[in-house]
Amino acid sequence: MDLNLAAEESAFRDEFRAWLAANAPKDWNEWCEKPLEESFPYLRAWQRKLHESRWAAVSWPKEYGGRSATLMEQALFWEEMARVDAPPMVNALGLGLIGPTIIACGTEAQKKRYIPKILSAEEIWCQGFSEPNAGSDLAGLQTEARLDGDHYIVNGQKVWTSYGSFGNWCELVVRTDASVAKHKGLTVLLVDMKSSGVEVRPLRQMTGESEFSELFFRDVRVPLENTLGKVNDGWNVAMSTLMYERGSYGARLHIIFKRFITRLIELSRTVQRNGRPAAEDPLIRQKLAQCSAEIEIMRFNQMRAFSRITATGVPGPEGSIQKIFWSELNQRLQQIAQELLGSYGQLLAGDPHAIDNGIWSYAYLRTRGNTIEAGTSEVQRNIIGHFVLGLPRSY
């Protein structure tokens, strides 16, 4: 066990830290609260800048424009991004999920066609996985693709599609064979979002924003060469995508959570409770301490999980607890913020009396989604129960 960074790891971190100091935009805080329609060109330019110095996809192999970074280096990359509060990359799904899947499962022609434009943010990607009747039970999806000469004809509906309104391309999971077991009749298609019959409707979520869309497909023609991986092997292709979803990206969370708790501790010194600063209130102290401690433990868990993957090549059992841990912790953190701020906690962005321009009311509502998105807590507990502890399948 050695928790000091290795020489190569520090070198990697220092190089990126220096690059960020010279290149990260200084005016992101003026843009970050604007709707994506407005900030989109700004974010596209930022990703291009990262890409020009080969920082857009550090985990990708060198020959595809990445740096073949180790998992620990990837974690350091996300930590540094979070540390300077750098803007996100607008093609996050293309870079994080779909690009790696195309590299792993795509043909040479597909790699040549799609990869460069994912890196440069010239083409934005979205993901058509969940459906109104297929959420946790993804394999039960119903969007169908019927063969018609050298095309598929796609009909169906997808939901919870991030970047749907901005997507040029979509990684779409469809049913190509309804006669076999549900996992076995799926295929992944790469769909041009300008195709006739594709309709995108932004979905308004409880925070009031639209991070997600609904996608409708009516007789959409998709050329056969846009099949990713083998026909009827879509479950494995889709699962390899979701594996990337649980990768190094989480390494930035402890920086973000620590920024929240540090701000709350600062606020607790001025917020009054029972005639004295909340920082002196034993109950508030207990809660802030509990949260600070859990943020550290989240990081210890992550470091252990990364080390395990590095050593064995496969995610260890610790990996499965990350999602539950961070999502539930984030909700507790925001609840403490609400308790600390009292009546002020509810004030929305733009209200002249709002603290920190209403981020606390927003975060409280937004974190409610954390235990649902990217695999509900219930599904995560099923995964631990069955795949880690070896209990019989419950569903």
Binding site: N4, R285, A289, S292, A293, F300, R304, I321, R381, L391
Partner: protein, 367 residues
């Protein structure tokens, strides 16, 4: 960065697991807890043969000279077996106090026989107020004599000498010293016996100032948390096994999500506890600037988690879990005793608060 065990650490853990499974299986553990002291001389000499009694101490004093991470691994395995007797009191507690506050001569005289497995010892800390805060200790040595009472002293009846924490220093009292009365206190944890110790003009040798005592207490606190991790792992293992085999409504109860999700939570708490304990061991070994915080984080989390894991484990076992015959309650008892020892979760949260709210901020290595 490598937050995993080295080959030699894996080896130590595996051989400790084998050793405890062979030398201290459930039947032996149950036999010992039924005795007055839970101490067994032949088991003790086997622990010494393994080098466990000198695990972290310098070779100059007959120790093995391993690190704090190794101590965490050994304690985890001891906790899994619910090792009865004075191992924690002697090796971890008295040993680290001697190591932290004693002179080289003291170490030669007292630490070396501990390392060699020749003596048993313990440390008397709590007084009637049962406060773990060193500021609250009152019993002082006057002219080399102790007068007063200490409570909740573990394994005092088998100690060859007792170490006494006082506001004006750390003192050593021979078990045969005059004016020393040791009487049992009936504690919930049957594997680690507690005693009230009365001093009546009892002669005591000064070991040193209590300035370095926090270092020894940090080691003991982390080791206790590690022991809790082993208990949690054992509770999780037997519970999952039970959930796979016990059938109701024609199905293994582990198939029901109400049961399965409790097992998942037990797993989450056990693994998170382990991460916190390994980090604490590493921070202690490296003298990391956040070592004190890391130890409080570990003890805080493990104290709550061990109780929670025990609750789930017994609940899932149903009526069987409530019987004397099932071992779970023995782990549950230990978990409760260890929860309060060296400060419960509330105590350590306040310690964390004083570090992150009143001064600076909590920061892990590399963060």
């Amino acid at each position: 960065m490598q937050f995993g065990l080295t080959e030699s650490q894996e080896f130590l853990r595996n051989s400790a697991r084998q050793f405890f499974a062979g030398e201290c299986p459930s039947a032996e553990m149950r036999r010992l807890l039924g005795t007055d002291t839970a101490y067994d001389a032949s088991l003790w000499s086997k622990l010494a043969d393994q080098g466990y009694t000198g695990i972290i101490y310098p070779e100059a004093y007959g120790g093995v000279g391993l690190g704090k991470v190794e101590l965490m691994l050994l304690m985890e395995e001891a906790g899994r077996a619910l090792l009865p007797g004075p191992f924690f009191s002697t090796v971890v507690l008295a040993g680290s106090v001697l190591d932290a506050v004693g002179t080289p001569a003291h170490k030669k005289q007292y630490l070396e026989p501990i390392c060699k497995g020749e003596v048993r010892s313990t440390v008397a800390i709590l007084e009637a107020g049962a406060s773990w805060n060193l500021r609250d200790m009152q019993l002082s040595a006057v002219n080399g004599k102790l007068n007063g009472e200490k409570f909740f002293v573990s394994d005092a009846a088998v100690a060859d000498f007792l170490i006494v924490v006082a506001p004006n220093g750390v003192f050593l009292v021979n078990a045969q010293a005059r004016g020393l009365t040791i009487s049992p206190m009936s504690g919930m944890d049957l594997t680690r016996k507690l005693y009230a110790v009365e001093f009546n003009n009892t002669p005591a040798e000064e070991l040193g100032s209590n300035l370095n005592l926090p270092r020894a207490f940090d080691i003991a606190t982390a080791a206790l948390a590690a022991e809790l991790v082993g208990g949690m792992q054992r509770t999780l293992d037997v519970t999952v096994e039970y959930a796979k085999t016990r059938k109701q409504f024609g199905k293994p109860i582990g198939m029901f999500q109400a049961v399965q999700h409790q097992c998942a939570d037990m797993y989450l708490e056990t693994e998170s506890s382990r991460s916190a304990v390994y980090y604490a061991g590493w921070a202690l070994e490296e003298n990391a600037p956040d070592a004190a915080t890391a130890i409080s984080i570990a003890k805080m989390y493990c104290s709550d988690a061990a109780r929670s894991v025990g609750n789930h484990g017994i609940q899932i076992h149903g009526g069987m879990g409530f019987t004397w015959e099932n071992d779970l309650h023995l782990y549950y008892r230990r978990a409760k005793a260890s929860e309060t020892a060296f400060g419960d979760a509330t105590f350590h949260r306040e310690r964390i608060a004083s570090m992150v709210i009143d001064s600076g901020s909590v920061s892990a290595k590399g963060a």
